[in-house]
């Protein structure tokens, strides 16, 4: 089994457009004055100062696959028809996890308590989008590593809670990634704490089919 990669920090670009979109901004429709934009950008900057983005990832081989489950070489079985279809042509997967840390959660709480909910929602959106960006970043990291092996990593990710891949599998992912080492814990409802923590699975396949081309750019 490959070792766990730890990324501390994850240095991805701030996804400004995605943060705005998450807040409901629609280009050409939403009216935003330059002053209002400055206030929101300041809030995003403040959020970034409180976000300590860390990640972890592990490359694992698939030893067998049926229509309803995949088995990893570690012996772990992941039951899900949707996941099995997702990794249809993949010989490996990368498990990924990323967290924005607990300081931003505390900051969201403080802003809410101080009746600055408009700032709190910006913090919340920034943290949510940046952890998702962190997963993309980790995916790109592995993409670079495996390029010389004539392989590529699927751009779309799969997560516990999607389709029939039950959220309880988050416990399995948590253990395989040793997320506790990043200061994360998981409650009995499979919710990761701190709140802005996400995990995902990305498939690795060899360059063989035309469809792969959409993944390779």
């Amino acid at each position: 089994m490959e070792p766990i990669h730890t990324f501390d920090p994850v240095t991805c670009d701030t996804p400004w457009d995605r943060i705005y979109r998450r807040l409901g901004y629609r280009k050409g429709i939403t009216n935003l004055s330059s002053f209002e934009k400055r206030v929101i950008d300041d809030a995003i900057d403040s959020a970034l100062m409180r976000i300590h983005l860390k990640g972890t990832a592990r490359r694992l081989s698939i030893s067998s696959r049926s229509s309803s489950e995949i088995t990893l070489t570690s012996g772990t079985i992941l039951q899900s028809e949707a996941l099995s279809r997702y990794v249809n042509e993949c010989g490996e997967i990368v498990l990924m996890g990323a967290t924005a840390g607990s300081e931003i959660i505390a900051a969201i709480g403080e802003e809410t308590t101080r009746n600055n909910l408009s700032r709190a929602v910006v913090f919340d959106a920034a943290a949510s989008e940046i952890v998702d960006s962190a997963l993309d970043w980790i995916g790109n990291f592995f993409g670079g590593l495996i390029r010389r092996e004539n392989k590529l990593i699927l751009r779309k990710h799969f997560s516990a809670g999607y389709g029939d891949f039950a959220l309880k599998n988050q416990h399995v992912v948590f253990d395989l990634l040793r997320l506790d080492r990043l200061g994360i814990f998981i409650n009995e409802k499979a919710i990761l704490v701190p709140e802005k923590t996400v995990t995902a699975i990305a498939g690795i396949k060899e360059l063989k089919n035309k469809e792969d081309l959409t993944y390779s750019h």
Binding site: L117, G161, D212
Partner: protein
């Protein structure tokens, strides 16, 4: 060779090894050792195709990568693989010891300690050199710090030619955000003999990267693009660029001035053969510059050349007079430094001065820690400010960029200790024109010292672009002539000596009242005389305003766009305020809420009260109308969430302001309906709930917020206690959403008459209805739903 023509590098080896039977998942280095004939053949094919330089098959032959296959004899493997390359071609080609990444990020960008990385690369390089490698190639680097570690390892072990190529994503930056120009400035300053790019992109995209670097390169540029992008041919996927097409791009690279060119993924000996033919006899445009006045961080370059706008060096990271910072540094922490850096950068600082000198502080340790922290926290290049050479060295070694040393004076000890350090790490330095005899009063004496120090620096390889002359600012309170002597020094540096200049701005006003005006006036004078950099506080708007004005007046801001942008927002706000003065009190309150101007609502309400308008009328008339308008704009997406909430907060503040007046007037306030609101058991997400709570409060509902992770029993208990007719439940996850059904079932089983509004990312209208609840997708819908539910209850009551 580089002076005569473009040097040809070899092509891809991974795919060539696979063609010759290397199985997937195998350690390439071990397979090559076990199958030397295959490797010999590949090397010979590339050499006969025209490659001048062959890379040894040691791309992953470092301790970290080899350990994944249980291999530990790192040096031996590197030595043997170089010898195989030599056996293949003898002296008919140059053998480059190939060094690839470890797969880990190096501190401060990752968990691999910098000195461990240097050791890992030294181990590999020892093996390569023992095998007889002619040059070293550090390639496919995505982390500038890892590239630096490998380059420092190479320079500390040998004087041989070292080339470094980085891999850039499609956005033109590495994964860590390093752009090609910053990488070039950093690596060529650190002693790389050639710098460039390889892998990830085809020639078209890589050409843009080389073009970006060319104007700033002191060293030849190298390019090893992929053979285009992957494409389906039959049942196989191959890279889509033919050898001829690849060679055509080679000619374009020659025109833009590449010095070395080969191929990466997808290229074959045929690609190299055609490339070699296409570039035959073509001379590379040798670098036109010997030195460059530029500083870099991992993600940004700042140019200090003549004619550029004034650069501000943020001075705040200095513990002098800052007890909090001193304490933090003593404790080994860097949190305040992080905040100071970000605030200064946001205020417009181009560079950041870093000073950690204070009693009880381990300067060497803290300079290292501060530089590490700032390398991640800020994009601005750093100015390392210390009188301790060990602290300077610690900072320079770990810094993933090209730093500016503050400073090297004419004192013999300083020159002897600091010039070699600056040379070793390729740093620029501030030349402080004083000696052991003290600070010269006159500009003439300062200029002599500058010339003297420069002569010594020239002997170490420095040129004028590598130096910044300090004008030496003394307090005007001590010497009234100090201002003019400094300005003369600055002007001399600019017009006569031909060098950048810097001043520590606030020194001029030490001991004087109203210091800001002296600082501002001094800055304006110095800018006009050609000042390049000012160490100042960028958070002082007077200083930044003078900078903007000075840049415009001294023709450094040629079209005035920076000046206009600097003052644009203030002008817009001023116009807004002027417009509001013409509105009626009701219109003013309306627009204040619609614009979400929390700071103005009380003033607007006071004006309305002064105009004898009734507080209840203000709430029910203008304010509710305003928030309803906001809701309408939100639904049409003309407003988005922060604007909706800002308006709601403004309304809330206004209602809070008026309520005591209404109570005082003993007016009958309408009875408030209570709504219980909670995030269900097991769920910790509450931002959506908080938004709904605010919106409902603004509509006059009394909200009892039970918080998050609230058990069903408690929710029912509170509903019973308060007789709340409505309860709002929030859940984000599919695993916690099921708690909503539990709450509703419990309510029904206990005959609790309450309507349940349900919301959250996982909840759908279908689900809500299926469990006997109502659905509200956001705060606006929640308000509409609550009003409908209450209205229905009232109608039902009056029907009875």
């Amino acid at each position: 060779m580089l002076k005569k023509r473009i040097v040809i590098l070899d092509g891809a080896s991974g795919t060539e090894l696979q063609k010759r039977g290397m199985p997937a998942g195998e350690c390439p280095e071990k397979w090559c050792m076990d199958n030397p004939e295959a490797l010999l053949a590949i090397h010979r094919e590339y050499q006969s195709a025209g490659a001048d330089i062959l890379y040894s098959a040691t791309f992953g032959a470092n301790r970290i990568k080899l350990s994944q296959y249980g291999i530990t004899n790192v040096r031996e493997i590197n030595t043997k693989l170089v010898k195989i390359a030599r056996k293949a071609v003898g002296t008919h080609a140059i053998i480059a010891g190939d060094i690839g990444p470890t797969g880990r990020f190096v501190e401060p960008f990752g968990d691999l300690a910098f000195e461990d990385a240097v050791d890992i690369f030294k181990e590999q390089i020892e093996g390569l050199l023992k095998g007889g490698a002619d040059i070293l190639v550090i390639e496919t680097m995505i982390d500038i710090q890892e590239a630096r570690a490998a380059l420092i390892a190479a320079r500390e072990l040998s004087n041989c030619f070292v080339m470094v190529t980085m891999t850039y994503e499609h956005n033109g930056r590495t994964l860590n955000g390093t752009d090609p120009v910053s990488a070039l400035i950093t690596l060529q300053s650190l002693g790389a003999h050639a710098v460039g790019c390889n892998c990830s992109t085809g020639p078209a995209e890589m050409k843009r990267l080389i073009e970006a670097m060319k104007p700033y390169s002191k060293v030849p540029l190298a390019a090893k693009p992929n053979a285009g992008m992957p494409e389906l041919k039959g049942t196989e996927t191959v890279f889509n660029m033919t050898a001829i097409e690849f060679a055509d791009f080679g000619r374009e690279f020659a025109e833009i001035g590449v010095g070395l060119m080969g191929g990466c993924c997808g290229t074959t000996p045929e690609h190299i053969r055609e490339l070699s033919r296409a570039l035959s006899g073509k001379k590379s445009a040798l670098p036109g510059i010997k030195a460059i006045s530029a500083l870099s961080s991992a993600r940004r370059t700042v140019f200090l050349e003549n004619g550029n706008p004034l650069k501000i060096v943020g001075e705040q990271i200095n513990p002098t007079g800052k007890k909090d910072l001193q304490e933090e540094l003593r404790l080994g922490k860097t949190t305040l430094i992080d905040i100071m850096a970000k605030n200064q950068q946001k205020s417009g600082a181009d560079l950041l001065d870093v000073n950690v000198g204070a009693p009880g502080v381990d300067q060497k340790l803290m300079m290292r820690e501060a530089v590490k922290r700032l390398s991640v926290a800020a994009d601005a290049p750093l100015v390392l400010d210390s009188s301790d050479p060990e602290a300077i060295e610690a900072g320079l070694r770990i810094y993933p960029g090209r730093a500016l040393i503050n400073s090297i004076s004419g004192e013999k000890k300083k020159i002897e200790e600091l010039l070699p350090l600056a040379a070793r790490y390729g740093a620029m330095f501030i030349l402080l024109p004083l000696t052991e005899e003290g600070v010269p009063e006159k500009a003439e004496e300062r200029c002599s010292i500058i010339r003297l120090v420069y002569r010594k620096a020239f002997g170490k390889g420095f040129r004028k672009p590598d130096i910044v002359v300090d004008g030496l600012v003394m307090a005007v309170s001590a010497d009234p002539a100090s201002c003019s002597e400094t300005l003369k020094t600055v002007e001399w540096a600019h017009l006569t000596f031909g060098c950048a200049s810097i001043i520590g701005l606030s020194n001029i006003s030490f001991g004087m009242p109203e210091r800001i005006w002296l600082n501002a006036a001094f800055l304006a004078m110095a800018v006009y005389r050609g000042l390049t950099l000012a160490i100042a506080n960028p958070e002082l708007k007077e200083i930044m305003n003078i900078k903007a004005a000075g840049d415009l007046l001294s023709e450094r801001d040629k079209d005035g766009s920076s000046y206009l942008a600097h003052f644009a927002e203030g002008t817009a706000r001023h116009n807004d305020v002027k417009e509001k003065l013409h509105l009626t009190p009701e219109e003013r309150i309306f627009s204040t809420i619609v614009e979400g101007s929390r700071d103005e609502i009380e003033t607007a309400l006071t004006a309305a009260l002064d105009a004898k308008l009734d507080p209840s009328y203000l709430i029910k008339g203008c304010m509710i109308e305003a928030i309803t308008e906001v809701g309408r704009r939100y639904e049409k997406r003309e407003y988005f969430l922060p604007q909706l909430i800002a308006a709601a907060e403004t309304m809330r503040k206004g209602v809070f302001y008026l309520e005591p007046l209404i109570k005082k007037a003993k007016q009958n306030l309408p009875p408030k309906t209570t709504i219980i609101i909670a995030t269900v058991a097991g769920d910790i997400h509450d931002i959506g709930k908080n938004i709904v709570s605010l919106m409902l409060k603004n509509q006059g509902f009394e909200i009892l917020d039970l918080g998050k992770d609230v058990a069903a029993e408690r929710i029912i208990e509170e509903i019973k206690r308060t007789k709340a007719p409505i309860a709002g439940l929030s859940a984000l996850m599919t695993t916690t959403m099921i708690e909503m059904e539990k709450v509703i079932s419990l309510a029904r089983s206990e005959d609790v008459a309450c309507d349940f509004m349900l919301g959250g990312a996982a909840v759908t209208r279908t689900y809500a209805l299926s469990i006997g609840g109502f659905y509200a997708k956001d705060g606006v819908e929640a308000v509409q739903l609550a009003n409908r539910l209450i209205s229905k209850k009232r109608d039902a009551f009056s029907d009875q």
